[in-house]
């Protein structure tokens, strides 16, 4: 690209995809806003140009589920390194999970996370808050104070809220506040010591199983509590066919329920554990082909609203522990599009449907639809991604921007890759290279 002092940036020759459909066009950005999106714009002499030929120009991706590890585990990831990984993956916004140390249950922690995100300047970092103090499942976190600090999504992610009375109270108390309660669905009594999906594979491998029913019981409980309380709930990383069906019925009943699925839950099965490599240990665990097909079906018919990475960095030595002792989780920001795009288009989704699951639908769930998720038209914030849907590539762990390299996709052909990412008018990634 040619850089200049002008504040005008033009994204030329791409195919625009947003909630208004698909069309060819050049996107003109002035400052932090889109000022025009139409065909054959004559580029001013001193404008910056981002070449988008052969590429899709879409609203920037929004990740509902990112573990940035800061504060507390900066050896695994920092807000800066995680933001860089996000930008390289085409994301302009991420929701930072609150399972930090200290946990995000006070205004101080939330404001620290947001400030670190602004300092890094690579994507908008929206802190989430805890459902319960310290994620201990005992006392409600101060939702009012945290909503006042800009928090919109609340979760104890990593833990499900076990106590049904406490969850009922959380839902009741949340009403009237501009917030969504996002549940990590896992009945802990059923997953004690669990390492992988409970099924044939774990039986052979001699590993304690994490049964599907442990997720589905809590999905069911929370859907019914939402019916009772009219609270707005979101279900994190749905991993089983049974959960998809429960959400489908809840939506048919008109309940205010949304759900997300992770790239690894539509691309990898429990068979991956046969080599006992902890890089494939994740919570909820990799499941079966039947579950994968059900989740893809849920994305196709809209039961599942969003793809969310559950980006979970861990240092190499933690992933070299014995499988039962290694922490669960995989990095995912840089590979999400490349993993999901062909799976979802092969299942019949249009590019626009896929972008919806990556961008404006999660933006709406996170409550950031005013600045993220498009549409690409004059007057909206210039948070954009330009991606090549045909780029075929393989991930090289050592080159990941994330501080941790625990990707399960080594050796796998990925298709689709972000080329440029633009955050409020400023390119954070140009031709696959982070700009800061």
């Amino acid at each position: 690209m040619t850089r200049s002092k002008s504040s005008i940036t033009v994204i030329t020759g791409g195919r625009i995809v947003d909630q208004n459909g698909e069309r060819d066009g050049d996107v003109v950005i002035d400052g932090d806003q889109i000022v025009s999106a139409r065909e054959n714009f004559s580029v001013p002499e001193n404008a910056s140009v981002l070449d988008a030929r052969g590429c899709i120009v879409a609203p920037g991706f929004v990740d509902l589920h990112t573990h940035l590890r800061e504060p507390g585990r900066e050896d695994a990831e920092t807000i800066e390194t995680g933001s860089r990984a996000a930008a390289l993956g085409g994301y302009t916004a991420v929701v930072a999970m609150p399972n930090t140390d200290p946990a995000a249950d006070t205004r101080d922690v939330v404001e620290f996370v947001r400030a670190q995100g602004e300092r890094a300047g690579l994507c908008d970092v929206f802190p989430s808050g805890c459902i319960t103090i310290g994620r201990r499942g005992e006392l409600l976190a101060p939702y009012g104070e945290l909503v006042g600090a800009g928090v919109r999504l609340f979760t104890d992610d990593g833990n499900g809220v076990q106590d049904p009375l406490l969850m009922r109270r959380a839902m009741e108390y949340s009403r009237g506040l501009d917030m969504v309660l996002a549940q990590h669905c896992e009945v802990a009594a059923l997953t004690k010591g669990a390492v992988m999906h409970e099924g044939h594979c774990c039986s052979e491998l001699g590993l304690p199983g994490w049964p599907s029913i442990a997720e589905e019981l809590m999905v069911h409980r929370d859907i019914e509590l939402a019916r009772l309380t009219s609270a707005r709930i979101h279900l994190l990383h749905v991993s089983t066919a049974g959960s998809v069906e429960l959400v489908r019925r809840a939506k048919a009943d008109g309940l205010p329920v949304t759900a997300e699925a992770a790239p690894h839950h539509i691309s990898l099965t429990d068979e991956q554990l046969r080599g006992y490599d902890p890089v494939f240990k994740v919570n909820p665990p990799l499941r079966t082909r039947v579950d994968i097909e059900a989740i893809i079906g849920g994305l196709v018919d809209g039961t599942i609203d969003a793809i969310a990475t559950d980006h979970a960095p861990h240092p190499a030595d933690h992933k070299e522990r014995p499988l039962d002792d290694a922490p669960p989780g995989m990095v995912g920001l840089e590979t999400a599009l490349g993993v999901c795009l062909s799976i979802l288009t092969d299942a019949g989704m249009s590019i626009a449907d896929v972008v919806a699951a990556f961008s404006w639908k999660p933006a709406a769930i996170a409550g950031v639809g005013d600045t993220h998720g498009g549409p690409i038209e004059a007057g909206t914030a210039a948070n954009l991604v330009v991606f090549d849907p045909d780029a075929t590539w393989q991930v090289a762990p050592a080159t990941l921007a994330s501080r941790s390299h625990n990707t399960p996709y080594v050796g796998r052909d990925l298709r689709g890759r972000a080329r440029h990412t633009v955050l409020r008018g400023t390119p954070t990634v140009i031709d696959g290279v982070a700009q800061r």
Binding site: G206, L207, Y276, E320, L323, D324
Partner: protein
């Protein structure tokens, strides 16, 4: 064969090869000087992260009879307790020059992880609930020998009784007996079966006891009652133990096996000495020969394998 991590991984041909080799090793062990130079200059490291005197001594003896040098590390006197990672432990010991690690660990899968960090051969001495392949080879050899067979175990009916879910011995024995053509039935309360049974199963020991050739009893850990998998040890014994009455119904021809150590009064309520088909001491006795065969197969040069050199000649020293 590069590693012995599980029976499934090596397959039936390798199992038969090791059982045949074991016949040679039994012969070696009967000599006045039961020591051969087959593995002279090779180093075997026994790395036991979980205590097991019997298995460790058996491997040590096997390696020494083949003239290998032996190092033994147990977790209580290693730096693992000082926070050293598994990988660092392996790489440090491997740097001293090790041809094979025999590893026992409480976590399933550790032998696979370790084989990423060293070029040495890995012998699984027991990993978590998963596998105990040398025990399975010992048991297969014991049955084959007792039945006077030379090839596989086609048509032999084996019942494995007890805590299948948490048992690496059960998993490896299901694999070895199935690979050799035997028919395996699992007998356990459903709470002690794996989520997906790995062979046909029943909760009724009395229904199978007249139709089997081998009765394989597993050790029942009495702590399991705290996981609410059985109501009480007394109830377990009533339904699943080898009682005097069941022992009588077995008859003389049925082989009775146990990997040890036995819980008398829990899974076995008769004195094994009074059971005609008891194989329990034979299993222990065959342990050294089977482990010699395994180490020989992994570490002897291919020339020695073909010619049988080193097993036929006595050690010169």
């Amino acid at each position: 064969m590069k590693h012995l991590r599980s029976i499934a991984e090596i397959g039936a041909d390798a199992v038969l090869r090791i059982l045949d080799l074991t016949d040679h090793m039994v012969e070696v062990n009967q000599r006045p000087n039961p020591k051969v130079p087959a593995l002279r200059g090779r180093t075997v490291c026994n790395l036991f992260f979980e205590d097991s005197t019997r298995t460790r001594l058996s491997f040590e003896t096997a390696a020494k009879r083949l003239s290998a040098d032996v190092m033994t590390f147990t977790v209580k006197d290693s730096s693992v307790n000082k926070g050293e990672s598994l990988r660092d432990t392996i790489e440090t010991i491997a740097a001293m020059g090790v041809d094979a690690f025999v590893i026992r660990h409480k976590s399933s899968g550790v032998p696979w992880q370790v084989s990423n960090w060293t070029t040495a051969s890995i012998v699984n001495g027991g990993d978590g609930w998963h596998a105990h392949p040398t025990q399975a080879l010992i048991d297969a050899y014991t049955v084959r020998h007792a039945l006077g067979r030379t090839g596989g175990l086609d048509g032999v009916r084996v019942a494995i009784v007890g805590d299948i879910r948490h048992s690496r011995v059960a998993r490896s024995n299901i694999e070895v007996f199935t690979a050799l053509g035997a028919d395996v039935t699992l007998v356990a309360p459903p709470t002690l079966l794996p989520p997906t049974p790995l062979a046909p199963s029943t909760a009724d020991l009395d229904s199978v006891i007249g139709d089997i050739d081998v009765l394989y009893l597993l050790r029942m850990q009495t702590e399991r009652i705290h996981d609410a998998v059985i109501p009480s040890i007394r109830e377990y014994s009533t339904r699943f133990a080898l009682t005097p009455e069941r022992a009588r119904r077995l008859g003389d021809h049925v082989l009775v096996m146990h990997p040890g150590p036995m819980n008398r009064g829990v899974e076995i309520m008769v004195d094994p000495a009074e059971i005609p088909g008891a194989m329990i001491t034979k299993q222990v006795a065959n342990g050294v020969a089977v482990r010699m065969a395994v180490l020989f197969d992994l570490l002897a040069s291919s020339d020695a394998l073909l010619a049988g050199v080193g097993v036929d000649g006595e050690a010169s020293a």
